[in-house]
C-alpha cells in the first residue's frame, strides 16, 4: 500500500479529509491513508476487513498498517504459492513437513489463511517468464501449478484451518482465461469435503473468453454453472467500477502486462524467495469496450450464481475500484434499471459479447446481507461474525432505508445514498457511527490462526529452516518473526488437527 501511495500523489490531491473532533485527517481515493480507510469502511457499515495477500517477509509492515486502521477488525493472508520452501517440500512429496512449515509461517507472521497468487507464475517471473497453464513447469523447481494447488489444499485440510485456500489463479486478466479458471477449480474437486475447500478470489478478472482484447467475450455463464454445480468452491466478484484507480497485486507478470497495455507508470517488486508484486495506476473507462465487458462479467457472475452463500461482493480493492463504490455495486445487483442506466452508456458491442441484458434477477435485501456479511464471515470461518445470534459480536449497521417501503428496483439512487452513510454502526456494542459521521474511534482486533501442527515434525524442520534462512534470506529469522506483542489487539484462533 505504501508503495502505491508513493506512486500516486495525484490520487491524493483531490480527495482530502479534514480532521474532526473524533477522526484524524487523511487523503486518498484509491489508496487512502490507513486512518481514512478505517473511517470510510465504518461509514459504509463494514466492521471486518481482510488484507488478502501479504508477502510473509513484509508482513511486519502489514501489521503496522493494520494496527493503524481504527475501529475495524482485521486479518491478513500470507502468500504461499511461490514460496521456495513450500515448493521444495511439495516437489519432494513431504506433505506433512509442508504442513508443519505452513503452521510455523502462519504463527511467525500472525497470518490467517493460505493465499496463493498465480501459483508458480511469480517465481517464473523472477526469470522473466510466466506460467500459462496448470501443467507448466516452474523454472528450477520440479513442480507445476497444479501440484502446488493440490499440495496446499491438502495441507489446508490437514491443518483444519478456518478458511479455505484463497486462490488468485494463473492467467489472470487475459482474454480466454476462463478455461484455466475452470481447470483450477476442477483440479481440486476430488479433495472436496463437507465445506468449501477453495475460494476463487476476484473471479471477474478470470472469466474472459476470446483470443485477444479485440475478441474478448464474457464467459461468466460457464463459471457460474460450475460454481452452481459443485459445492467445493466459493467465489468473490472483483467487480470493476468506471473510475481512476490503482491496481496492485502480488502477480508481478500480470502487472507488467498491464503496464505494457496502458503505458502508465509501473512499479515492480521481488520479495526474495517468497513472492513478488507490481503496481500500475489504471483508469477503467466507460467508453472502452474491454472495460465495459469487464464491468458486465462481474455482475453476471454475481447474478448467475444462485446462492448468495457462494459469491461475495468485492471490488478487489483497489484493483477493480475503491471499496467506497460498494453502494453503487449493490444498486446494480438490486435493480435492473440501475444496470440498464449504465448499459445505455457503454459501447454497443458489449451486448453481443455478454448476456447481462437478458438477466432479470434482482437481489433482495437479505441476499445482499448474505453476500456482504454472512456469506463472507462463514467462508472465513469467523464464527462470531456475520450473524446476530448469541455469542456473536455486536457489530451492527443500520441504514436509513426501510425494506418494507422502499422499492430497490426503481429507487436505486435512494439506495445508494442510504448505503453510503449508515445511520448507526455498532462495533462490539459501541456506537461508532451516527448519521454518517464517525463519533468514536476505537481499536479493532487482529485475527490470526494459531494452528496445531505435529509438534515433533515442527521441531524436526526447525533446524533445517534456520539453515535455509541463513542460506536464502537477507534477514535473520529473529527479525522475521512477528511477535504477538506487535499486534494492537491480538485475537488468536486456535485450531485442532
Amino acid at each position: 500500500m505504501n508503495a502505491g501511495r508513493i506512486l500516486r500523489p495525484e490520487d491524493h490531491v483531490n480527495d482530502v479529509e479534514a480532521k474532526t473532533a473524533t477522526t484524524r485527517s487523511g487523503v486518498g481515493h484509491s489508496v487512502p491513508s490507513t486512518l481514512t480507510t478505517g473511517y470510510r469502511y465504518t461509514k459504509l457499515g463494514y466492521t471486518t476487513v481482510v488484507e488478502p495477500a501479504t508477502a510473509p517477509l513484509k508482513t511486519k509492515h502489514t501489521h503496522e498498517e493494520l494496527n493503524d486502521i481504527p475501529i475495524l477488525d482485521k486479518a491478513c493472508f500470507p502468500v504461499f504459492g511461490n514460496n521456495w520452501l513450500v515448493m521444495e517440500y511439495l516437489s519432494e512429496g513431504k506433505l506433512e513437513e509442508c504442513a508443519a512449515f505452513v503452521t510455523w509461517l502462519l504463527r511467525a507472521t500472525k497470518g490467517y489463511a493460505i493465499k496463493l497468487v498465480n501459483p508458480g507464475g511469480i517465481e517464473a517471473w523472477a526469470w522473466g517468464k510466466n506460467v500459462t497453464s496448470l501443467d507448466d513447469q516452474v523454472p528450477h523447481f520440479n513442480i507445476t501449478p497444479r501440484e502446488i494447488l493440490r499440495g496446499l489444499c491438502k495441507v489446508n485440510r490437514l491443518l483444519n484451518l478456518p478458511h479455505a485456500i484463497h486462490v488468485h489463479p494463473n492467467n489472470l486478466g487475459k482474454p480466454g482465461n476462463f478455461q484455466t479458471t475452470i481447470d483450477t477449480m476442477d483440479c481440486l474437486r476430488d479433495l472436496r469435503e463437507d465445506r468449501p475447500i477453495l475460494h476463487m478470489t476476484h473471479i471477474q478478472f478470470e472469466g474472459y473468453g476470446g483470443k485477444d482484447w479485440f475478441s474478448i467475450t464474457s464467459k461468466a455463464p460457464e463459471i457460474a454453472d460450475y460454481v452452481n454445480t459443485y459445492d467445493h468452491v466459493t467465489v468473490d466478484m472483483g467487480q470493476i467500477v468506471f473510475t481512476d484507480t490503482t491496481t496492485m497485486t502480488s502477480d508481478g507478470p500480470f502487472q507488467y502486462q498491464l503496464h505494457l497495455l496502458n503505458g502508465n507508470k509501473w512499479m515492480n517488486y521481488d520479495v526474495e524467495i517468497e513472492s513478488g508484486a507490481g503496481i500500475v495506476p489504471f483508469r477503467y473507462r466507460r467508453s472502452n469496450l474491454v472495460n465495459a465487458v469487464q464491468w458486465t462479467v462481474g455482475l453476471e457472475l454475481a447474478l448467475l450464481v444462485n446462492s448468495p452463500w457462494k459469491v461475495y461482493l468485492t471490488t478487489d480493492h483497489p484493483n477493480g475500484g475503491p471499496f467506497t463504490s460498494y453502494p453503487r455495486i449493490i444498486s446494480w445487483l438490486m435493480s435492473k434499471k440501475a444496470r440498464e442506466a449504465v448499459m445505455a452508456k457503454i459501447p454497443k458491442g458489449t451486448r453481443r459479447r455478454t448476456c447481462l441484458e437478458s438477466i432479470d434477477r434482482e437481489l433482495s435485501f437479505s441476499e445482499i446481507a448474505v453476500m456482504t456479511r454472512a456469506g463472507a464471515a462463514k467462508a472465513l470461518g469467523l464464527k462470531h461474525k456475520g450473524h446476530l445470534a448469541v455469542g456473536a459480536d455486536a457489530d451492527i449497521a443500520v441504514y436509513p432505508t426501510d425494506p418494507k417501503f422502499v422499492d430497490p428496483s426503481n429507487d436505486y439512487r435512494e439506495l445508494v445514498k442510504a448505503f453510503r452513510n449508515a445511520s448507526y454502526v455498532l462495533k462490539e456494542g459501541e456506537i461508532v457511527v451516527h448519521k454518517g459521521n464517525v463519533v468514536k474511534s476505537t481499536n479493532g482486533r487482529t485475527f490470526w490462526v494459531n494452528a496445531t501442527a505435529q509438534e515433533d515434525l515442527l521441531s524436526a524442520i526447525l533446524p533445517e529452516l534456520e539453515s535455509k534462512f541463513a542460506e536464502y534470506y537477507t534477514v535473520k529469522m529473529e527479525n522475521y518473526l512477528v511477535r504477538e506483542e506487535y499486534l494492537g489487539r491480538s485475537d488468536p484462533i486456535q485450531t485442532a488437527l
Binding site: R8, E10, D11
Partner: protein, 290 residues
C-alpha cells in the same frame, strides 16, 4: 505586443467586488472559493461566511478579507479584485470559467488551477503551479512566476490542455510539463526543463533558458529566442527556419529546428534562435550531412 489584460479591461465593469486582506495569515490559506463563478451571484453577507482553510482551521472569508462591492450580475461581467500581500493565499481562481480576477499584489501558489475560462491578471509575481491543469481562459502575470507553470500535478499525466498564460517576467523550472495544448509565453528567462513530457501546444520563451528544454516531449513546440547553452542529446537537428508562427503572430528568426525526444515518438520540436546561440553552430554540419 498588447497586454491581454489591458485589452479586455477597456470594457466597463459594472459588477465589481474588492477583497482586501485584513491581516497577514501565519500559515498558507486554501481559498478555493475566491473565483468569479462562486462569488458573482451571492450577497456580501453570504460571501463573508464562505469556507476557506487557514492551515488546519476552517474560517469564513470575511475573517480574512474586507469585502466591498456589488454582486448579482452575470458572471461573465463580474470583476473580482484581491488586494494586499496575498503570497500565502493559494488556489485563487480555482476552476474559474468566466469573469475577471485581478490580483493586485503577489499571488501564492496554484493561481488559476484547473481554470477553463475568463481572465486572471496578477500585478505582482505568482507562486508555483500557476495555471496548472488549465483547460481554457487566460492568465497574465506582470511579475515573475514560480515553477511548474501550466504543469500537471506531481505524478499525473494531465497538464495544461488549453488557454494561454503570459508571464512578463521570468519563470521557474518545468513550465508546461505534460502540456497537451494551449500557449505559454515567458517574456523573461525560463528555468530548467520547459516542456518536459509535453505532447502538444506551444511554449515561447523570449529570454534565455537554463537548459534541458523538451525532455521526453512527444509533440508541440518549445521556442527559445534567447540563449540556451546546449540541446539535449536526444534531439537531432532537422532544418533552419527563417521564422515561426505562434498562433496569430510571426516570430522572426532564423531558428535551428530540433526534433525529439528520440526516447519517445520523435514528434516534438524545439526552435532555438541562431543569432543568440553561436555555440550551437556545430549542429549545422549535421544538417549538411542530411
Amino acid at each position: 505586443m498588447n497586454s491581454i489584460y489591458l485589452k479586455r479591461f477597456r470594457v466597463k465593469w459594472l459588477n465589481r467586488i474588492v477583497l482586501e486582506l485584513k491581516r497577514q495569515p501565519r500559515v498558507p490559506v486554501d481559498s478555493k472559493t475566491i473565483s468569479p463563478n462562486v462569488l458573482s451571484d451571492k450577497p456580501l453577507e453570504e460571501i463573508a461566511v464562505l469556507e476557506i482553510w487557514e492551515g488546519n482551521r476552517q474560517i469564513g472569508l470575511g475573517e480574512l478579507f474586507n469585502i466591498k462591492g456589488d454582486t448579482g450580475g452575470p458572471t461573465s461581467d463580474f470583476h473580482v479584485v484581491v488586494s494586499g500581500d496575498t503570497r500565502k493565499i493559494r488556489c485563487l481562481g480555482y476552476r474559474m470559467s468566466s469573469g475577471l480576477l485581478k490580483i493586485e499584489g503577489d499571488a501564492g501558489m496554484y493561481v488559476g488551477e484547473e481554470m477553463c475560462g475568463g481572465l486572471i491578471s496578477v500585478d505582482g509575481s505568482a507562486g508555483s503551479w500557476l495555471g496548472s491543469k488549465m483547460r481554457g481562459g487566460s492568465i497574465e502575470v506582470f511579475g515573475d512566476a514560480g515553477d511548474h507553470v501550466g504543469a500537471a500535478y506531481r505524478g499525473s499525466h494531465e497538464g495544461m490542455t488549453g488557454g494561454q498564460i503570459r508571464i512578463h517576467g521570468d519563470c521557474g523550472s518545468e513550465a508546461g510539463s505534460w502540456m497537451s495544448n494551449g500557449t505559454v509565453r515567458v517574456e523573461g528567462n525560463a528555468g530548467m526543463f520547459p516542456g518536459v513530457h509535453m505532447c502538444g501546444g506551444i511554449i515561447l520563451i523570449d529570454g534565455n533558458c537554463t537548459g534541458r528544454a523538451g525532455a521526453g516531449m512527444t509533440g508541440g513546440m518549445v521556442i527559445i529566442r534567447g540563449r540556451m547553452e546546449t540541446i539535449l542529446p536526444s534531439f537531432s537537428i532537422e532544418q533552419i527556419r527563417k521564422r515561426v508562427k505562434v498562433r496569430e503572430e510571426t516570430i522572426e528568426g532564423p531558428f535551428y529546428v530540433f526534433r525529439g525526444d528520440v526516447g519517445g515518438a520523435r514528434t516534438g520540436r524545439i526552435f532555438v534562435n541562431v543569432a543568440t546561440n553561436p555555440q550551437l553552430i556545430w549542429c549545422e554540419k549535421y544538417l549538411e550531412a542530411w
